[in-house]
Symmetry: C2
Subunit: 354 residues, 2 copies
């Protein structure tokens, strides 16, 4: 493999010294970029992009052409695993992801099999290999998956949900069925992320988008437990280098200590958590990724720079911080503002590294 | 005024001894009750209920006929203040509240005046008087208002929002305009709650439904600051008794210490916060209200009872806990399950009070 020219991201994840704070953006290959919208137009739809390794590679690299980002993230969807399980993922305009089949009964759960990434999701694994080759050592490539609980909510509800009524009914009324579903998903996520790592992913992130909808106790039992299972089953070293794992529970700011105890190398923070306070709570056990409110990108470049400065100052000196937004960048953001954000992180963070 | 026959709720808010843990439910007068749906049908629509003191009184009392609740809450909407400011509140089926006019520019903000509750919202004040009379001392009556930040989001966005794009643009790009708007709202909320107290409300709750969408720093500056202003301007004693104030920021579990420092008597918790951990954090400074996940009401009565027991045990012995859901009860809940919930609180909590 080609030598990595910029390894700030991987170094910060391992809390090793860096020259400036590395930065990337969740959903950085996305609709706010005109070149992405053009690619999507050509592909016909979102799945046309995800399902085609060349197209996925193209859009993965687009933000790197525009901005001095310190990492690339595989362009894909968190719901590829349930799709591979036969649920039939599709997207309706303005409505988010949906499934043709749902998983609501014990029989539904029992019929699901742990996926085989190479035969069930070859397009993702091929995309990882291709992107890694095309990156040619510029920056590291991040692989990812949805968390078991997050995948389960979509599979049970059949799409997005406001209150996760059906998923929580299963959780509270048939916890043993829910546990079986989550175990099948945890096994699938483990082999899926390992296949991404074997194909070239240099770090992986688990997106627990809906963990924050649970009570603390239910989070421990139904979400965190399965992320711990995944972390302990992952390939942790590859090409002579650690493969760091990032855990991101949106709305999980109250549970950082428990998340840090899973063995993950870094925690993603949404913007509701003060990153300085979070650092005090987790100490030296993990790196922290985040956490600017993505809506600040609607503000002026001066205001964006000020907020970047505030977050850098809150984290303080030393390595262990990967700058990011607290959630994905939104379609309405002006690409110039995203650029101002990324420049501000590099400019202003030199003061915090010696 | 008639003597209060059941003052558990007020006693628990002041952390005075009680026989059992008091319980009420946010949105307890609501669509899950067939008698409420019938009243709403007769009134024509939601505003027909809110705007008519007799109808508002009728639906306020409905849940008390069914269940041994320890408090009544005024039936009204959090958006009456912006409606009184001339924004034109209306409801579209399945879409939530909307405003005919929005507040987006400095000129829009400057044109707003602090409301006069008696002339601008007589129907609310009359409803409070009437409900208090009809309650005849059965249980205390809770008055309420939306928080300034929460009201501002609806006024700026013109309705509900996913990411509060416009409200946050004002907050980040024109903080001084946002502060002027919030100050006008804080003054209005203060006189509004005081008018409710003078009309007979025996406790008040400030609903900060969208405070949790802010970063910690923005929460302090744009939401908490104005709730502190309100708390310090409220009538705190009436009829020889303290009028307690409850602060409820949904998603505010990370900020309880700051909320407790406002001078409020109690904090509302959503279900993501462990109530035992919250009690340790705030100590004896405030009472705690909450915090069962409302979706547990979809589970079996046995499972509901188990969860009530878990929360009671997490809070532990002694007064200072008002049992509630972590958010409003939802329309699909079986009224029998709500009954099982309320009974379980009274049954199981005797062990925690001597």
């Amino acid at each position: 493999m080609t030598e990595l020219k910029n390894d700030r991201f991987l170094r910060a994840l391992m809390r090793e010294p860096v020259d400036v704070t590395p930065v990337w953006m969740m959903r950085q290959a996305g609709r706010y970029l005109p070149e992405y919208r053009a690619s999507r137009e050509r592909a016909g739809n979102f799945m046309g992009l995800c399902g085609n390794p060349e197209a996925a590679c193209e859009v993965t690299l687009q933000p790197l052409e525009r901005y001095p980002l310190d990492a690339a993230i595989l362009f894909s969807d968190i719901l590829t695993i349930p799709d591979a399980m036969g649920l039939g993922l599709y997207f309706e305009t303005g409505e988010g992801p949906k499934f043709k089949k749902t998983v609501r009964t014990e029989a539904d759960v029992n019929s699901l099999k742990v996926i085989d990434p190479k035969s069930d999701l070859p397009y993702v694994i091929d995309a990882v290999s291709l992107i890694r080759r095309e990156l040619n050592g510029r920056v590291p490539l991040i692989g990812f998956s949805g968390s078991p609980w997050t995948l389960a909510t979509y599979m049970i509800e059949g799409g997005s949900s406001r209150d996760f009524r059906r998923a929580k009914q299963m959780l509270y009324n048939s916890p043993e069925v829910m546990h079986r579903l989550l175990d099948t998903l945890a096994q699938s996520v483990t082999v899926y992320l390992n296949a991404q790592i074997e194909a070239g992913a240099q770090a992986v992130q688990i997106f627990d988008t809906w963990g924050g909808a649970l009570s603390h106790q239910a989070y421990d039992e139904f979400s965190l437990k399965y992320m711990r299972q995944i972390v302990s089953g992952l390939i942790r070293e590859r090409e002579g280098r650690k493969v760091p794992v990032i855990l991101f529970t949106k709305g999980g700011g109250q549970w950082l200590e428990a998340m840090a105890a899973t063995g993950a190398d870094a925690l993603g923070l949404d913007w509701t958590t003060d990153i300085g306070a979070a650092r005090k709570r987790v100490g030296d056990s993990v790196a922290l990724q985040g956490n600017m409110d993505p809506t600040i990108l609607y503000a002026s470049p001066e205001r964006i720079r000020e907020e970047v400065g505030r977050i850098l100052s809150s984290y303080g000196s030393g390595s262990g911080h990967i700058f990011n937004l607290g959630h994905g960048i939104t379609p309405e953001v002006d690409p110039e503002h995203a650029g101002a954000f990324i420049r501000a992180v590099h400019d202003l963070s030199t003061a915090y590294h010696t």
